[in-house]
Symmetry: C4
Subunit: 191 residues, 4 copies
């Protein structure tokens, strides 16, 4: 079974998720610059989630770049990842409209954790299909970045109830860490 349609479908879903988030940026009533000020936290959350979705699309791209075919299990692991990503607009809006209050920040972390776990499962399903000696398995290696992200999300969720801004800082740190695209696969492929 070829990977093309799974790629196309994932691209479609991620493209829509990344774009409908902007619908939360309602044009405010009034033409003065002051009416934009309450939108600032919503906008910052939009930027953060845009970057996260960009990272997922980028890594998804790299992940599938290294492989040739998929099976039914991979299709479902992929849909599972898309499900968690589809919740990002909701938690982004809730966090932005409540200016980084405890519960919304914690829930943002839960969705991020869910997406990270789903990505991990997808990578495992692909390795199970292509073998432990495949380019993909070698490239992912010990997947340090992935494990650090999980730890950061797990920490950010309880921390949100004490210092919600610290949780946000942890999310930003994860994003910065991933902004450098997954060169592991690129390197292994070009050896």
């Amino acid at each position: 079974m070829s990977k093309n349609r799974m790629e196309a479908f994932s691209d479609g879903v991620i493209a829509i998720i990344i774009t409908i988030m902007v619908l939360e940026l309602h044009a405010p009533p009034g033409a003065d610059v002051n009416v934009l000020r309450p939108l600032l936290p919503v906008f910052l959350c939009y930027v953060l989630s845009f970057v996260f979705l960009g990272i997922y699309w980028n890594n998804h791209h790299h992940l599938l770049h290294a492989i040739a075919h998929v099976d039914g299990r991979v299709l479902w692991a992929n849909l599972h990842l898309l499900f968690w990503l589809s919740l990002i607009p909701f938690v982004t809006a809730w966090m932005g409209e409540n200016r980084f209050a405890a519960w919304p920040v914690a829930l943002y972390g839960v969705v991020m954790l869910g997406a990270a776990v789903a990505y991990f499962i997808l990578a495992r399903a692909l390795i199970a299909l292509h073998g432990r000696d495949s380019v993909l398995a070698t490239a992912l290696g010990r997947d340090r970045k992935g494990k650090i992200s999980l730890v950061f999300y797990l920490a950010a969720i309880p921390v949100a109830f004490v210092y919600p801004w610290l949780s946000c800082a942890l999310y930003v740190l994860v994003a910065i860490m991933w902004l450098i695209p997954d060169r592991r696969i690129e390197k292994t492929l070009h050896q």
Copy 2:
């Protein structure tokens, strides 16, 4: 006529349907966890419909995987299927916002029945084009799962007016039955 553009268009439509459903999950006013509680039935309906659309995409993928070309009749049978799928966000929202009341649950079943019948017609149109001895015809075989689904939907619609939760259980059962992707086609193809 090649199947590529029909695949791409269907992927696009299903990707949008699966994603705009999440727009019904309005970020509630208030930052407390209690404000999320009324959203729970809406969320459960979202999960159910996400799974159903995932199943349709998956089966659509398998269905077209086995064939090589399409004609004008198949294009319209496909648009007919997409029409029924496009009504899923509406019935999902209505059912979720009314916490599984009789009429919304019954209408959900009507749309599911319409989609199932449309899928059946699409499969027949493809078999008519590729021949009764084609890989596709052999793979679909007697299509037991498809027939069981139709019976379950037909039962769920009247039942909704007495025990709406039983109808929901029937929908969940159909989803579980289909979650295992259509191995019939995969198997026949690899023989």
Copy 3:
């Protein structure tokens, strides 16, 4: 310049237009079947516009099927067509919410006329690029259906101010006439 990306972009835009129309079908407050009654004209307009967009996608598919490459002029002729199609959700909602009143029905015809003219321009731009003796030019021939549609739309616009239901009947007639996909191109290609 290859036609692939223009096809993919058009598929994306038409897929989104066809799907966001369903957002106008707001889940009504209340779980009774009576609350659905006011939605009926909105739903009928949705069905009509779904069929029209399906026809455009289908014909667009056939049109590009017959050709090999595009140029800058064709890209803009295509964007011009997509512009008119993008106005369909607006006029559909306005017509449905006002139960086929004069002005909304007339404006629906204006948008349909704009789209039909844009399709005509696109077909001419493609023939100008591929030559009067190309498969496409022979296949389109005298384009009787296209011309009849233009006449029907031109008639439906003024008629809407006297008998809006007659205009709607004209729209339905055009849709039925086109539901049979453009066999002219298919036939010529298979000779």
Copy 4:
């Protein structure tokens, strides 16, 4: 790394942005033609932004047409461009609903400037990857149109606070200048 998925993802995002803008054209309550009058500035802004997004899609198409592969840096430069484009629906709605008031018109210019700079960065990243002697580098040449656009946007932002209509005229001028697709690349490719 092949350019196909980056093209597909960009097509998806631009297709969605161009389409969701039409959601701002809410069907007005009332069936008379007068209720459409307040929508006129919103509609004009929609047309302007539709043309701008069409120009970006067109130029993006031409830009990638000339190249063969991409790397992680190009992927992020592309996402950066898509980020700025994703803000267009917001500024379009704000400008339209406030009938070309000073701040909204200025902010429209800021987003247009951001998109133009992002496009410039993307072109540089592609030239860095393909070499100063590549078809792309020769084709882009001194990029006069790009530089004139930047100057126009930079002028339009402060001017908006004195004569907002003059800024709008500058935006329209840029659009007209670009409506002629980037023949530089086409010409170089066909030599």
